[in-house]
């Protein structure tokens, strides 16, 4: 076991896969010589050279399009969009092109493209550089959506993303880059669609991703002092979604809470909830609760941003209400 940061896990995955397969290339804005604006990829340019690691102009359509074209002709590109919010600039390439190529071509094309981007709030970047955007892509069949919450998952899931023959949107939480965690020695691969039961419990199931996993865990700690046993599940990938693990948990606990760092309307938690009503409605002993962004947008001012992003207190309060305490 080694302890590395979330950011180092990204680079290690890229490094290992580029060493393993010469078809893996990597490009984006300032990812090469500068090592990325979040300093995630320093050294890759020096190690693999300017043919395989490239800086691009600030041209998101050109970046994704080049990734798609390279993918359908035999390479395995990893492209970086820097801030995930910038995906909105190139949604056509991601949603209309990459996601649909295989389907529209009757299975002739495959698009082994990994799109990396940094999402999430808490750093004072305001409304256009702080969103969690996973649901944009969940609504585009053909895309896989990955939301790792710790260094080991970053490593194992990014390697899987690069080896996947489908387009994968790999969303890193920018406020987790400095977080440290243990990663296994040697080859570490995590398949998509396998949720991680982060904490076992029997009274309430809490589903959370990325930064919200730690929020859910701290709430679970506090509730444990009151004798309330929470099970915390990190789905790790939203497409595919391991609904079986969540269903099993809800059948055990009878209660479901989602903690989402995103607007309430149309959030991934809504998808989880409707799937659970299909699978386990008679197991539910209380209405489902979704803890999401207060308001709807991420404001700049720190007290406001701190207020809108779900925290331990809001999760505890929600579960108290659910249990009628």
């Amino acid at each position: 076991m080694a302890i590395i940061t979330y950011r180092e896990a990204v680079k290690r995955a890229l490094d290992e896969e580029m060493a393993r397969d010469e078809n893996v290339i990597f490009f984006g804005e300032d990812v090469g010589v500068a090592g990325g604006v979040f300093k995630v990829t320093p050294g890759l340019y020096e190690k693999y050279g300017g043919i395989r690691v490239r800086d691009t102009p600030i041209s998101e359509n050109a970046i994704i399009g080049a990734g798609i074209g390279a993918a359908v002709t035999g390479l395995r590109p990893v492209v970086e969009l820097m801030f995930a919010d910038f995906a909105a600039v190139t949604l056509d390439q991601i949603i209309n092109q990459a996601a649909k190529f295989r389907y529209m071509s009757g299975g002739q094309l495959k698009v082994p493209l990994t799109i990396r981007a940094a999402q999430g709030g808490g750093a004072g970047f305001a409304s256009q550089h702080s969103q969690c955007v996973e649901t944009w892509f969940m609504h585009a069949p053909g895309l896989k959506v990955v939301v790792p919450s710790n260094p080991a998952d970053v490593l194992g899931l990014l390697k899987t993303a690069i080896r996947d023959d489908n387009p994968v949107v790999f969303l890193e939480h920018k406020n987790q880059y400095a977080e440290k965690g243990e990663v296994p020695d040697g080859e570490h691969i995590i398949p998509f669609g396998v949720a991680n039961i982060v904490r076992e419990g029997k009274d309430v199931t809490i589903i959370a991703t990325q930064k919200m996993v730690a929020v859910a865990m701290s709430a679970a700690e506090e509730l444990a002092k009151e004798g309330i046993s929470c099970e915390v599940i990190d789905p790790r990938t939203l497409v595919p979604l391991d609904i079986e693990t969540i269903t099993t948990s809800v059948k055990k606990t009878g209660r479901l809470v989602t903690v989402e760092e995103a607007p309430h309307a149309g959030g991934w938690g809504a998808e989880v909830v409707t799937r659970i009503t299909d699978n386990a409605i008679w197991s539910l002993e209380a209405p489902v609760v979704r803890v999401t962004l207060e308001g709807a947008l991420i404001p700049f001012s720190q007290p406001l941003e701190d207020y809108v992003i779900p925290n331990k207190g809001r999760v505890v309060t929600a579960i108290h209400r659910m249990l009628d305490i």
């Binding site: 395989r52 190529f101 002739q108």
Partner: protein, 333 residues
Amino acid sequence: MRLHEKDNTVANELAADTRQHMLQRMLDIRYCEERIQELFLENVIRGTTHLCIGQEGVSVGMAAVIDAPRGDTVTCTYRGHGHALALGMTLKSMMAEMMGKEAGCCKGKGGSMHLTNMDIGLIGTFAIVGAGVPVTNGAALTAQIKKTGAVSISIFGDGTPNIGAWHEAVNLAAVWKLPAVFLCENNLYGEYSSYASTAPVPNVIDRAPAYGIPGVIVDGQDAEAVKATVQEAVDRAREGHGPTLIEAKTYRYKGHSRTDTAPYRPAGELDQWLARDPINILSDRMKQAGQLTDTQFQQMHTAAQDAVQEATTWALEQPYPSVESVYDDIWVN
């Protein structure tokens, strides 16, 4: 910056069999497009169609340069039936796709606007204006990295250089010196709006200097001139000198799509272009060179009509895909 207009007369006379092939394929495209329009009006083909009648010279001139086994690739627009046929898609595969049949090139999932056939190098006929141009760069990037010597051609209309993705892509291709060719079919109209009313420069290639790449105008009604111009750009790309912007001046005889009769066109404009029909230009030249008789030309017309009819009859008899196939090919398993 190098900017020059090509002389529209072709210095090098092509071999008779090359001309014969180009002429036959233009006739195939012409009759296929006319049949598609009939079938659309009969509601046998649903949705929409964008016909390229009048623009066949660009299709066959371009296709004559493409070397699919080498890895050359093409992206084009939804006005792509002609390009697909010119590259080698069979009439049957095309017609079946038009009708949404299982035997279509995309198993009926794509339709008129989404034709793909990687065996002939056709990545796709893109239905979103400008979307194919960045993708062409990616194919060119593969060629550059793997040193295959392949090129990727992006074909688009005169409306496309007004969309951001085009500029991003041309810029990136120029910066990275990608083996790409940007081939504009300037047919004077972007949907219903004239080129002059939507662009601030007289020619599309006037934008080439902004990216430091050559811009070349060619007579799109002269298939051989198109072939020569595309060949020059492809050679340049293969040699590592980067992309070229080509503007083929051409014209679509029909409207933008479906039942558009193009009432927005000035009186007499269509007639002027009909007088420069790409099929007649090549056939006249062949006749003058003693490579084609009137009888042979008539036989070529008949062959095209027969082939289109055979493909239509065949496609009509083909089964639709099973509804279970809607679940296929969303993912690579």
